[in-house]
């Protein structure tokens, strides 16, 4: 068990870039999506299907993992059509008219509504400083009492 809370889940993506290069990179998995973050901001997202994970034994400098394929022109790269068409977004409809996408958005909307308010960094800092101040004040008091 991790005393600092559950670790973030990550998976490797084999990412094909538009300039003809490719990269094995670890991305976070959140709510069934592989996400690329800059600081805490999600800038890109791909759907993560279990069926589309390829075992990869690793190479020097590239660790072994289950790997999914990805590129910048779609949220699913499935060259063998392994995933059923009904489980993937309909490619003939626009993003705002696509039921698969709107279902995802609905899910995220309900999740935001039900999410408990987490403590901000400022709250944690306040508590930490409060405890530290009390401890320091106690040590001053104890020393004064002992003379």
């Amino acid at each position: 068990m991790n005393p600092l809370g559950p670790p973030k889940e990550r998976r490797t993506q084999l990412y094909f870039r538009d300039d003809g290069k490719f990269t094995f990179r670890k991305l976070f998995i959140e709510d069934t999506f592989l996400i690329e973050k800059v600081r805490d901001d999600i800038i890109k997202g791909w759907k993560h299907f279990y069926k589309l994970q390829f075992p990869f034994a690793g190479l020097k400098g590239i660790p072994a993992d289950m790997v999914t394929l990805g590129f910048d022109r779609d949220i699913v790269l499935d060259p063998y059509n392994i995933v059923d068409a009904k489980d993937k977004p309909d490619k003939h409809k626009k993003i705002n008219e696509n039921k698969w996408i709107t279902d995802v958005a609905d899910g995220q909307r309900y999740k935001a509504q039900n999410k408990p308010h987490s403590m901000f960094m400022a709250d944690k800092l306040t508590i930490f400083l409060g405890v530290a101040t009390v401890l320091v004040a106690l040590s001053i008091g104890i020393r004064a009492a002992w003379g």
Partner: protein, 202 residues
């Protein structure tokens, strides 16, 4: 899991514990240095050393704690190639009885007659041909990405984030909550000052 994989995994576990124990030792040693400084109060270098040890110790302990919770997946099957490789091959297989297609493996291999253009792997800077296993012909073919643009991952990020909707449900912070950390910083500073002022010198 072969011996090498087991050895790597054990080594990683040892590393986590080494970080954790090393961090705790640093913190304790920091207290020891701080106590020496407390009796002399002349050498500020000792105080700085104690602070540095606490900071390093806290970082190491945090890293150790964090890694202990992580789970590893050790892939059993194809081994890392010992021979030179020139291609990255993506394989799938088809169950002939049910017709179901499975993702089989991604592997770096040596291919005698590679197809297509080599692509650079940015992880190691080397160039590889990328092939896709054709299930029907049972042969490798050059891998090419589809040209059509469908759902941009950047646009999809907005669907995942729902920024406008989330803004409606953001936590409202009162003025007191905004200034509370600063009040505590001031209180902590005053208490430290009090501690220093009430500590007898020498």
């Amino acid at each position: 899991m072969d011996k090498k994989q087991i050895k790597e995994k054990l080594l990683k576990n040892k590393k986590q514990w080494a970080y954790l124990i090393g961090g705790i030792v640093c913190v304790i040693f920091g207290f020891f240095i701080a106590s020496i400084w407390g009796t002399q109060r002349e050498n500020m270098g000792l105080a700085l050393m104690a602070i540095a040890l606490w900071a390093i110790g806290a970082f190491m302990a945090y890293r150790g704690f964090k890694q202990i919770g992580d789970t590893d997946v050790v892939i059993v099957g194809t081994k890392k190639p010992d021979t030179p490789v020139n291609s990255l091959n993506i394989y799938a297989k088809k169950d002939k009885t049910t017709g179901t297609i499975y993702s089989e493996k991604i592997v770096f291999e040596m291919v005698e007659e590679p197809l297509g253009q080599p692509q650079q792997c940015t992880n190691n800077g080397r160039w590889y041909y990328v092939h896709l296993w054709n299930i029907e012909t049972e042969a490798l073919e050059a891998f090419a990405l589809p040209d059509s643009q469908f759902f941009d991952p950047r646009e999809f990020a907005n669907v995942i984030k729902m920024p406008a909707h989330n803004k409606l449900f953001e936590r409202q912070i009162s003025t007191f909550q905004k200034v509370a950390p600063w009040i505590m910083v001031a209180a902590f500073g005053i208490s430290i000052l009090g501690l220093v002022m009430t500590t007898p010198v020498g």
